[in-house]
Assembly symmetry: none
Homo-oligomer: 207 residues x 4
């Protein structure tokens, strides 16, 4: 598990875990909309209908809210990725499954993903968030490995720079969190299908 923070130090009271979740969801929404730094604790409290100080009954810092949001998302993500990777699929099918799971994660945790996109790069440098870097390494291993396997097995083109392709795929998928809104026109699966079609076949028409 990349996120050592999942075994939470008993922050404040362990009580009413639903309230925590509610508050975290609220916080995630605001972090995603305004950026972590630009978000004041007071703003989150407003949104939650309480005073800023009251949040400290539930969490011990603004940073720990962020931590919990991000590690919650990554835990969930890896549970699903690991299942895919353990399934023994071929390279193309693995990519398809990973992309689909990713869009489902965006659907489930869209605020967390948006935060992850924006903040992860410079958070990684802080000790508390090294699990972000760990996750990225593992992520790269999974995707790059699959692509290389695909090239070796003749499923994917050999004339493309694999690292470039990896980045292309990775960004392409996650950046969708910036515009995706759950409950919109397309289901995650439908978006995944279209994305995969573009990525795998290209947008050029052929007869």
């Amino acid at each position: 598990m990349p996120n050592s923070n999942s075994d939470r130090k008993k922050t404040a009271v362990s009580a009413a875990p639903e309230r925590r979740e509610e508050l975290l969801a609220t916080a995630a929404e605001v972090f995603a909309a305004q950026g972590y730094r630009a978000t004041t604790v007071r703003r989150i409290a407003d949104e939650a209908g309480m005073l800023a100080g009251s949040l400290y009954y539930h969490f011990d810092s603004k940073e720990s809210m962020l931590d919990e949001i991000l590690s919650g998302f990554l835990n969930d993500l890896w549970a699903r990725y690991d299942a895919v990777l353990a399934a023994g699929l071929g390279p193309r099918e693995t990519i398809e499954a990973l992309v689909t799971e990713s869009f489902r994660e965006i659907d489930r945790h869209h605020a967390a993903v948006a935060i992850y996109q924006k903040e992860s790069k410079h958070l990684q440098t802080q000790p508390r968030f090294t699990y972000l870097a760990d996750s990225q390494v593992k992520f790269e291993k999974a995707w790059l490995g699959t692509l290389e396997r695909g090239v070796a097995e003749g499923a994917f083109r050999a004339d493309l720079d694999v690292r470039l392709t990896y980045r292309f795929l990775r960004d392409t998928v996650w950046v969708a969190a910036s515009w995706y809104r759950p409950g919109g026109q397309h289901s995650p699966e439908e978006i995944a299908r279209q994305y995969l079609s573009m990525v795998l076949e290209g947008i050029t028409l052929r007869e």
Copy 2:
């Protein structure tokens, strides 16, 4: 014109424009690395070898530095996009040219592009930065229009959602700013070529 701020209100002094540019480049680098909010004016000054207060001889606020960085980038971008759009190319060639110019812009203004990526969404709501929204509208018109023309003329597949394809392309290109470093292994043109190949032909191998 998306960036009405190009006709700059005579900020502090019109002064030595090279110094301004230097300072803006420094600021852009730091903003890109740490995020706009997380960047302190003092940090920029340190990087520039002066005291925080001294920056205010050249700019009248941290925000106006950001403004100048973003509008400078967008002005430049639109000059090139407009040239492409005025060239009367076919849809596929237009897309190729736009993608190539975009990677060249990432090369020239990589810090500005990174900032744009991270901050533009919530900056758009501030009156001072409405030109960001204007630019985005114009941007969408140019790309979406070209894609639609391509579908109509049989250059691009008709079975894909065009808006989705547009977002896919757009994100695909710009997000590269997050990892691109000028002077790296690949030239902007080389990256553009690979990206275009993926996007146009897909990554699947065919005989």
Copy 3:
């Protein structure tokens, strides 16, 4: 209504109004003694026994403290002036009542009056303080009108320039705030009596 600011935008919190009043009184005292600009927020906080930042729990800016002080004074003043003007007195009695009420206001709000004297002229130009100008217009209407009525009815001399007389009276009264200290030798009523005697009868001895 001259002081549109009386319907206060819910500043920080509506909170314990006594604390606010205490703090405002402290602030007014310091503003009056040192001048608004020369007064630091830190000085007010010191005087109030708290840290500078803590003041911002109660007020959202130094300026809003000033605003509240001045509009509080003017609200009070106009309540009393309006009562006098509605009482249907003759010109001389009206002048006597206005002068007396004015000295009572100086007694009640001596710091606010001193601030008003020093700062009102250049504050009027700021949008937030237009009510100062409005008040002055209303003020002039009340006093000038009464003087003119007095001249018309033969109560006051006709050979004096009425506007000059108005300014003379107005300044004469308010400038007293610069030396008046509540609880001093003379009551406001006693001072009013002497001032009225000078203004109405002159200082020359006659048999």
Copy 4:
């Protein structure tokens, strides 16, 4: 002489004394309009058509400009007051002459007088400006003395508090600087005449 600063330490260059006077006049105007503290050196320089730093060729500080303005005014004032006091006039004539000279001073130095009104009280506490306090003492001696002499000789009413009357007269005269504009409708002498008439005879009509 109360203003020991008239024998100026050779500030910067003694050169071009007309330029100094011009600059001081400009500074005085701005100080009077915005208040000393609220006036920035940059604003004065703007008004004078130069850059802020350039002022320091002429003066060694913002404070020394203020000093020069105030002491210039007081020197001039006392030259005239002393002449009046030395003329051996009766109390009423002395008062008349002092009032008239005062309004002439307001005409000549209206900005300086306005500044004096606003700032003198708290400047007095600074060592550099003790001459303001000295002047006030001398001033009180001259006016109070004349009033007392007038009461003793039967020229003025004995039923008024002399100190109150003194303050009344003093304030009444100087405060006029806040609205007086040279070149306006009334000459200083005309204003003096009306003021004296009010103060001496009162504003009540008598047959």
